[in-house]
Every structure is written in C-alpha cells, then in structure tokens.
Amino acid sequence: MQKIFLTITLVFSLAAIRAQETVLPAKEQKGSYYLTNATIHVGNGQVISKGTIKVTNGKIEAVGNNISIPIEAAVTDLQGQDLYPGLILPNSSLGLVEISAVRATQDVREIGELNPSVRSIVAYNSDSKVINTLRSNGILLANVVPQGNFVAGSSSVVQLDAWNWEDAAYSTDAGMHVYMPSLLPRPSMGGRGGGFGGFGGGPAAGDPVKEGLEKIEGLKTFFREARVYHQIASPAKTNLKFEAVRALLEKKQRLYVHANTVRQILVALDFVKEFDVDMVIVGGSESYQVADLLRQHRVSVILQQPHSLPTATDDDVDQPYKTAAQLQKAGVLFAISDDDSQTRGRNLAFNAGTAAAYGLGKEEALAAITLNAARIMGVADKTGSIEVGKDANLVVSNGDLLDMRSSNVTAAYIQGRKIDLTDKHKLLNDRFEQKYELKGKKGF
C-alpha cells in the first residue's frame, strides 16, 4: 500500500505536464501521519536504523524504534531510505537574485555603506525559479542575506514552500550583516614589463589596512551612539539606523561578519568584546588558523564555500576541504554553505560531503547543514534536527544525501506538509524526454 503511494507520487511529480507556476505550496498539515522503516539521521550525530517518526499538526511528535502505530493511521513505509532533517542553506541570495548577470533581476545590494535598516525579507521572491531546484536536493530552509559594501542590512530565514514572503518568513530579521573591509593590500595593475598577465605596478596607493580599520572604528562609534540613543525614551529626532541596531545590541539579533582573513576575524572580535554581540563569521576561509580563539569567544562560523581553491599557492591543495574538520576538532560551532553563483546553492549537501571526505564525520557534516546551521541562525528550537517538538522539516533520500553518487531525494516535508518536488528543470526534462521519446531509456 505504502509502496504504491510512493510510486504514484514519484510518477506524478515527473509526468505531470504543467509549468512551475502550477506547483502549489502545500496546505497546512493537520492530524497525524507516520513515516516508518527509515534510517533516521537525527542531525545531532545520532542515527536510528529502521526508525519511525510521527508527525502531528506539522510537528514531530515522536521519533524512535518503538512507536506504536494505530491500524487506521496514515503510514508511509520508507523502505529503508534515509531520512534527514530539512537542509538549511545558511548564506544565500535566494529570492533576491534571479539571474546574476541581469541587473533588473538583482535585489541584493543596496547603495551606501551603512544600511542597518535594510531588510532582505521584503524583497524575497517566493516564486523564484531557483527555489524549487533547491528543494529537489533537500534544501528546505535558507538564510536570505543582503550583500553590501559594509553594513548591508538584516537577513531572514525562510522556508521554501510559500505563497509570498510573509508566509515564507521563518525567522525575521534575525541577523545583521557586516562585510569587513579586506585589510589586504591589492596590487596595482599594469606596469611596462611583459604587458600581459602580470601586475608589475607594485603596491597600490593608499593603505587598505588603515583605511579598513578607520571604517570599522566608524562603525563602533555608530554602535556607541546607538546605545545611548536607545536609552532615550522619546528622542527628538528619530534615527532609523540607530533603531535598526536595537535588537542587535540587545542580543536579540546576531551579528554576521563576512570575513575571511585572520586579521579581519581578529578585528571583528572587537564587536564581541565591546558590544557583547553574538557573532557569526561568514566566509571564514582562514578561520582554521584562529579556531581556538573563535571557540574561546563563542564565535561561530559559516564556511561559505568549501568547494573553493586554496587561498595561497603554498597551501595544502585540499585545505578548503579540510577546514571544516579543523573547526570541528577545535570545538567551534560552524555551518557549511554553498555560495556558488553557478549552481545557485543546490550543491549544499555535496559541500558537506566533501568535508566528510576530508576528516569530518558524516553525521557531523550533516549537522553542519542542519542542526548547527539552525543553532547559528537561532532557529534550533524549531528545526535542524528530527527531534520531538520541532517542525517536521524532513527529507527522504534513497541513498547517502551527501554524495552525488547516491543522493536521490524522493520526498520532502516542510512543517509536516509534503511538498511538491517538481521544479523547472524536471519539467523541461520531461518536455524533451517526450519530444525524443526517451521515457525509461537508460542511454546507450
């Protein structure tokens, strides 16, 4: 019975002839159902084989091996498939950028250097064609992050099955984003040497370290003034920028500092020391060099892109793949993101898989895109693991989700709602499989 149900679902989602416009957000889940016979990857490191979970009114009501199932209950036998918490993309321009080379489709970077009042959530396009392609790879939540030259604004976590941004909002304005000045001298281009393929011009004018530090001092001054402003009951003149950092300075919002180098990270520690904020380093390609200090200061890290080249020619060729394991070993709370502008985030699980290939445990790698990501974003009370009381954000894969060789997402649930895994790509595939009469063909 359950098997037939599963098969029908699969066939339906692939064979349906319609545009993505008719892929509807699922209705609110009411009542209870059971998913049985699953290898449950809880997200906290634990694995339950042949496990069952009970979902009631969108929440996980029970997880384990010994759950009694009423005879008339709605049950889906997962036939030994792997069940994962919904993956979380921790740093993304999803819904803010449709096509990066087309300016008209970009809503991610506002003008100016001090934009704390800018909010990503209000521009989030829940009908972006990219969203459904992420769901197909198990990504069910994303942190939608504004970009900028310095203080870019606040991010919100969204769930990826919604009619509009209000419905999508999962945790609104939970993070304030600062993009650190590079603090690294850039070479000047040109010079007369060979003419091509070289810098030759010596160091560029100006001192980027000094300029960067001055900029950061300016931000600290802003925070100090904001703090005083916040103590005034009714200020004569409203300052929206000061207002915008109230939650941050009251520790109700996290500070995401986009930084890669050791120097950038060390300078950012000032924010923790002076303003006692909860800080997250985003990027963190060099974070492994200061892992102990990060743990000591309770700073967490979002590794933006493990699938990256090493920073320096002298580095271990696999350094970006190994950074996650080094943070894990040092006890730093970290998440893994996929910031790739070509694949648009859908390889999140494979970035984690690579970290698993280079020293991270597989369940630790999973935590980096589920529970630990949720912790960093402050939504671990609602999602990130398959634990009682949390939203039923679930992914079913017929094979190891972290390895592209075996990843095969067959079903997904957001807040208990079984979502439609059709996406633009599957529809176009379907269209042309029909054109060439390829159904069921395995190739030559």
Binding site: Q289, V317, D340, K426
Partner: protein, 1058 residues
Amino acid sequence: MGSIRIFCTLLILLSTRLLLAQATFPENGVADPRSGYYALLHATLVKEAGTILTDATLVIKDGRIVAVGTGLPAPAGAVPLDCKGKFIYPSFIDLYADYGIPSAAAATRGGGGFDFLRPSQLESTQKGPYGWNQALRSDVQAHTQFAADDAKAKALRELGFGAVLSHVRDGIARGTGVAVTLANEKENLIIIKEKASAHYSFNKGSSQQSYPSSMMGSIALLRQTFLDAQWYKTQPAEEGLNLTLKSWNENQSLPQIFEAGDKWNVLRADRIGDEFGVQYIIKAGQTEYQRIADMKATKASFILPLNFPAAQDVEDPAEARFVALNDMKHWELAPTGPAAFEKAGIPFCLTTADLSNVSAFTRNLQKAREYGLSDAAALEALTRTPARMLGIDDKVGSLEVGKLANFLVTNGPLFNEKTLLLQNWIQGIKYTIKEDAAAANGSYQLIVNTASGKETYQLEMKSTSSATVYAKDTLLSKFSFDGKQVKISFAPAPVRQRPAMSDSTRRSGGPGGPARFMGAMEQPLPASATRLSGISNGTEWNGVGTDSLGNPLTWTATLVKLSTAPAMDSAKKKEMPSLGNVIYPFVAFGWDQGNQPKLETILIRNATVWTNESEGVLKETDVLLKGGKIAAVGKNLADPTARVIDGTGKHVTPGIIDEHSHIAAASINEGGQSVTSEVRIADNLNPDDINIYRQLSGGVTTSHILHGSANTIGGQTQLIKLRWGAGDEELKFMGWPGQIKFALGENVKRSSSPLGNNRYPDTRMGVEQILVDAFTRAKDYQRAWATYETDRKAFETAKNKKGLTAPLAPRRDLELDALVEILEKKRFITCHSYVQSEINSAMEVANRMGYTVNTFTHILEGYKVADKMKEHGSFASTFSDWWAYKMEVEDAIPYNAAIMQKVGLTVAINSDDAEMARRLNQEAAKIVKYGGVTEEQALKMVTLNPAIMLHVDDKVGSLRVGKDADVVLWSDHPLSIYAKSLYTIVDGTVYFDRVHDEQLQQQIEVERLRLVRKMNGEKRAGAPTIPAQPSYQLMHTCHDHGHSHGLLVIDNDETIQK
C-alpha cells in the same frame, strides 16, 4: 640688474662649454680649438677583460685613442697625466637605456587584457601612410627624437657608462635605436651610430587600439607582420604606400632587440624569431635563471637588467601568510641570475633598465658578484659584449688605437667594493666623478692664527669624514674633506663620564649600510667649538674660522706625512651566501632539480579497473604500465622491474580529460576583433600555474586550453598533458590535430558591457553574419591560392617563358589559413553556445559553408536540439548543473547531458573552472543522479568521450593496451564524493602521489620558515625592506561566470573592471 644677467649667462656658457668643435657651426666670440691631447702615464690599464698592462700609457687626441702600450713616453704636445697607482678601464655600455628620448605616453591601462566592459577602439588613430595597427611603430627612428640631457647623462656617467643605446620604448615594433656617448656635447658629435638596432616587445604600449589585447595576440600580430612585410616587397598595388611595413623591412638588417621581460616571454620571443630566421638579442627580466637551460637553448644573447626584488617586511605572520614561497625564493635567488648566465656560457650584457633609480646599479652589481658573477664576466658584459652585439666594437668596448677615448680611471681594481671611480672620460673629455680625497690621508700640522697668537695642533686625517685633532690631549672633533673643501671643528673633550647610549644617539646607517653607533669623536660638539673652513691647495690647506669665543681667525695645515694606503685585496669577495634550490616549476610543490618524477614501470595490483572498453569494469584486476604506455590489463600480471602498487579496495580509471579549461596560459581572450583565428593558445602556455598541480590532485591528466569567448571566431586552442614541472613545449599533447574556439551569444555581442558595444556583432543576427562572412572570405582565399598554385606550376613547367610573368602569390593571411584548415578538416571547432536558436544557426551556416561544428561546448540548451546536433555530427561538452547566472542559461538544466547522451550524442562534462576541474569525476556522477545514465557512461563523460571529441581517443581515454599510461588510482568508487586520487600518472610518470604531497607540504613549511627568517634577518641588519606584498595570482577565465578561486586570485575580468 643688466650686469647680473650677463654674469649668469656667462656662467652658463662656461659650465656647458662644448669641448668638441663642429666645423659648420659659427662661433660666437673667439675660437678656442683644442685637440684634447693627453698622455695618461704609469697606469694599470685593462684594454679589455683579461688583457692587463702595467705601467701603461694611454695617449688620446681629438676624442680618440692614438696610442696604448706599456712604458710608452708621453709624446711631444701631449699633456702628461701621472696615473701612478691608478687603473684604467674601458667605459661601460648600456644597450637598454632610454637616455635622451622623450618618455612614451604611458598607456592608460595595461596588464589586463581584453576589456569586456568598454567599447573598442577598432582602428588606429595614427594619421599618415602607416600600417593598420597602432602598436606597430617600426617607422619610429630614435635618432630623430634624440636630445642630449646632461642631468641623465651624468647619472649614468657616475656609474661608469660611456655609451648607451637609446630607443623609444613604446609599442610592439618600436623602430630603430640610436647609439650615443654620454659626453655633454652637441647631438651631432655624440651619436655613434644613428640606426644601431631595431626594437620589439609584446607590449602594445601607448596604443589604445583594442587589438592585440593578449599575449598571443601580440605574437600573432608579429607573425602576420613578418608575412605582410615579405609580401610588401612585391609592391602590391592594393597596399599602396605603407611606411610601417617599409620601415619594418629596412630595419631587418640591424641587430634585432626584443624586450621579453620574463623567462617564458624569452622563449616566446625567440620562437617567433626562429620562425622567420631572426635571432633576437633579448632584453630579459628577472626570472630567466629559473630556466637557464632553456635560455641557453635559444642561442640568443641577453641584456640583463640588474633589478632584484627587495626584501619584504614579513615580521608579522599575518602578513607573511600571503607572501608566496615562490616570491620569497625569487627574492633570494634573483641575484644569482647574471652568474647563472655566466656559468651556462650564455653571452650577456648588463643594463640599468628597469631600475627605478639607476644609482642602485652599482650596489646590485656588487650583489651579483657576491652571488657568483666573476669580475671578468662583469667587465665583459659591460664593455666588449654590448659593443659586439651592436656591431660598434670598432668604436667602443675596449681600449685600442682608433677607438673612442671612452675610459674609466679608478684608484683600484674596478669592482672592488672600496674602489673609487675617479674619472669617466668620454670622447676624450674628462668627467670627474669622485676626488680621491682619501689619498690625502695622513698627518698634518695645524696652525691656527688667533688674536692671541699661534696655536699648534696635530691633525691625523683617517678618512674623508674622520680626523683626530690633538693638542696635549685628544680633542672632540668633527671633520670633512671632499678633495677640495675642508671643514674642521674641535673642542676640548668634557671631563665627565660619557652618557650611556640612548636610542636618540643611535642612528641607522641609512639604506644599505649597517647601523652605526656614534663614537667619542662623533659626540655632539659644544656651541663653543672652534670651527675651521678652508680649501686644499695640495699639500697645504688654508682657511678661516672662529674660535671658542666667536673671534675670527685664519689657519693653515701642512702635510707632514701621507699614510701608507692599506693594500687593496681585489681577490677578496664576500662569501657566496647559502641559497635554496631552483624548483621546477618555480612555485610551491615544484620539484627540486634532479628530483623530477621519472618514467617508471608500474604494476597496480588487484584493483577495480574501469577500462572504458568492451570489458567494462573488471574486479580484482592488475594494470601494468610500461614505457609510458598501458602494457597489460588482466589478472596476475607480473613484471620484475615494476614498482608495485597495491590496489586492493581501490579503483583504477583512465586519467580525466577536461574538454574546457583556461589554466596554464599567459592569456586567454583576444577580443580585439570579432575574428581572431590567427591567435594561438600554444604561443603562450604558462607551466608555472599552480592549478596544474591542483588538478593532478583531482585525477586530471589532459586539459584542453581554450581561447575565451570574447569573439565569434576566437583563437586556436591547445591540448596539454599535466606534466607538472615541464617546460611550455613539453606540456603540449603531441600528435593532436588542432582545434579552434568559436563563440556565440551574449559574450560575443558584449551584453555585459555597461558602456555599450561598438564592435560588430551586437545581435545573434550579426553573429551569424560574422560566420558567413569569415567563411566566404576563407573560401575565396582558398581558391586564390589554388589558382596561384596552378599558375605557378604552369609557369615553372613552361618551356618558353617569353611573354610570361611569374604569378604573384596572394597575401598569406593567418586568420584565413586557420579557417581554411577547418574547411579542409585539419582543424576542429569547439563552439561556446547556449541557446537553441544560435546553435541551430551555427550548424546551418556550417552546412552551407561545408564544415562541421566538431564540438558545442557549454551547450546548455543542447537538450532542446540534440536531434539536430546528432544529424550535423557534433559532439557536446557541457556542465553538469550550472544555470541562471546569465540570461542565456535561463533554461539550462542538469538533465541536459543525459538527454543528449540518450539521443545519441557523445557527451563530455567539462569544468571551465580551475576549482571544479579537480572534482570532474563528481560532476560526471551527477549525470547518473540527473537523468540516470549508467556509471560507466558517466565516467566516460570525463575520460573517453572528451578524448573522442578531441580526436585523441587512439591515445587516451580508456585502458587499452598501447594507449598512453594516463591513469588514476582512486581511494574509493571514482564517482563518489569520498574518492580521492592516490596517484595520478601521466605517460607512466607519477606526477601526483598523495603521500609525497604531504611530504611536499612539510618541505614547503620548512622552506617558508627559512626564508621568512632570512628576510627578517636582513631587515634587522638594516637592509631596506618593502611592506609585505600579498602574492596575488591572475586567473584567466573566459568571462562567463563566477568562480570560487579564493581571496588572493584576481580573475582576469576583474582586473579590467577595476
């Protein structure tokens, strides 16, 4: 007022009086003819390196040498000059100066390449009957622009130079150079040779014309110009007068000097010369020592700049972190450059070029000596070699009768660190460089005439800046003597304890010198010191001064006894510093010389073997590699000579082949025109790219280096094997029929340019027209050559040639040659493409014109037109899952590869990205996930299938006996994310070995630490340092999408945006 002005004018006249008379110039006043007849006697005279005369006489007259020999008496009429204890050498020659030439207008931007974001300048802005390209300036003649400039001449004279070659350092062809002396005389008289040389470079300089916008474009332009100039000799009517080509031809008889700038450019320059029978003299850069054997093989003579990198301040680990090993090694090894040339027996001369301040020349020459350059070679490189290179050795370069009287007078052996260059004579005119003031060292009796009578002191002059003055006791004193002016001040030493040394009394020795500490003699003098100032009149000094009370006084010092000068030890040199090794390539993970990987016989035992042949995947199977080929695949293989690798639990696959890569090249995009089929990636490979090694670590063995997508018909591509450490030629995949890059769509119509586009095409309609036009021209060209060949044969075989004229060959056009090769199926297209309309149009044009689009690369909408592609006979090379980064990939889907494969196309998965290239096995795995091809089919998409579309499947792509031993041993299933390459083997040579890689990492750490400490040591010893320079890398891309290259990489596109 009036008299003052006249006085000033007189002064100027006196100081710039011309010593050489010129007959046609009228004299303003009374003539003062002189012949400058001098005899320098009793000198140690070095006629040329290796020929030393003692007690020599040098007689000069009218600016020339009239006699030279041992013990000759001064002829009557010659002014005798006693040079006892002095040394005489030929003056130096610098072949790469821009002395007397107005500096070229600086290019507003350089270094980048094709600019996607700006409109083009398609035509030359030079007015007049010149050639089409503004960077070709063969018509420029330096001697017509030359204007003597004594301020600059003086700086060079002070270094010992007497003659230089100047040219206009601007453009790819730079016209002729002029050889001049550095005498402060009229231009008419100091030009040694008006057209002494012809000059070239790869740098288009001030030209703003878009073409060429790449290294390979510069090379192609040179190549085509050689051909055009040949053709121009036939006086083709359709060309009219072309002064550029005319001068190009005229300049060919001169010494040809090419400014290369680094080791690979040296080889590039030499090759283009070889192609047309020209041996360039090469102006080098700093890195040639890194490939000295290759430099030797060019058979070129070199002009070496003495420009060495400064030590960086790497005391802050956070800054040292970003300074790459190769930059630190280069800092350490660059001064070995001249010695390396000497040791290799390569002729070279030395130049002040590239020094931001020429005064560093002497210091750097000392450094080169310290690092092994012999004095004889240094002298040769500064005198006879440059004279011979230029063919002016009948005038300069040695001290022989009849040559110009260009010579140096020193007080010791020339290169000895303490030796002073006293005079630099040029064309018989003496230029005093330094007085040998120290020759006055000795004891003097100092008599001070004060109002109260004579006071007598003893003065012991120790050096030009130090002397001790005594009365009864030693006095505190300060002293300076410049050979003419003397300054002495002294006061009684205070009777108190000397204060402890404080920081403020410490002063650094300034750049180059070690920190010095003030001694007792240098303690500040009290205000009441006696101060004397005077003039040396030889053995007696006379002057005035003030005593301790401020009363005026006069004084006289008389020489009592000269000190005996300490013998100069010419043989004593600083000890050769201990140095690291040159590595191949010169970047981290390069091999030490002698430690390069070698061809081995290798037996991999008991592995799962993915053959890509009909045998499929074989379990528990052995693979034997021998002689660089696959020798056997089977069970229980044995070879006693083999290195055995246990493959139990592991997988063997053919090496990965990347159909679309942009690594290992100096430039990628020549976008200066819409059709640039004449440019060749092969001309500008870069074996130093770290990404070669990184990709080996991901199992890649062969990469197809493509031209970018800046234009519809791009350049010729190059297939390489990842032979890490090899030279640029050795990287090439031998026996490969060439390919060429085409491109369609947004990039070629320059959709990303915010300032608009003025280069045709601007639409996909125009792209089609570019293709139609190019191939129409190619076919006409093909026919014209066929007709010519027929006529030529007819002419040659005709018995009676009366009334017949030999047919004229059409102009060779390298752009059309490449297109004809396509029509003749000798060259294959790989075409950047995205949307179905452009793909179908490209095939339709090809069908009409009679060629095939061999490969569509990117081809993200290939799934929409796979049936048509199959019919046309195209291959498809695509990405697994990229999309939505630009408008034309809006409909890209990850099922693309699988659909095309199922329709019957041969499909490859490529990287187009230096990062993803090392995970291509995983990208192939995604085609199983998206579209359900079999695992074997998926693996073929990154091995056999690209080999097929590159027409090398007879050599690589599968594990068939006899094919190249390009093999990867994986730790796990090769399509799994958990698989790592343990060994990547190319031609039976292990280029990547994961265990060895770990050792290399440790070695890199050790070497970095050594160099950081060494730099820090130099800094502490007072050597000048510059702030740490992060070692950025320039990465070439085809400007199509973003990349994850890390924070020290500047994508080529990005440099242009800045």
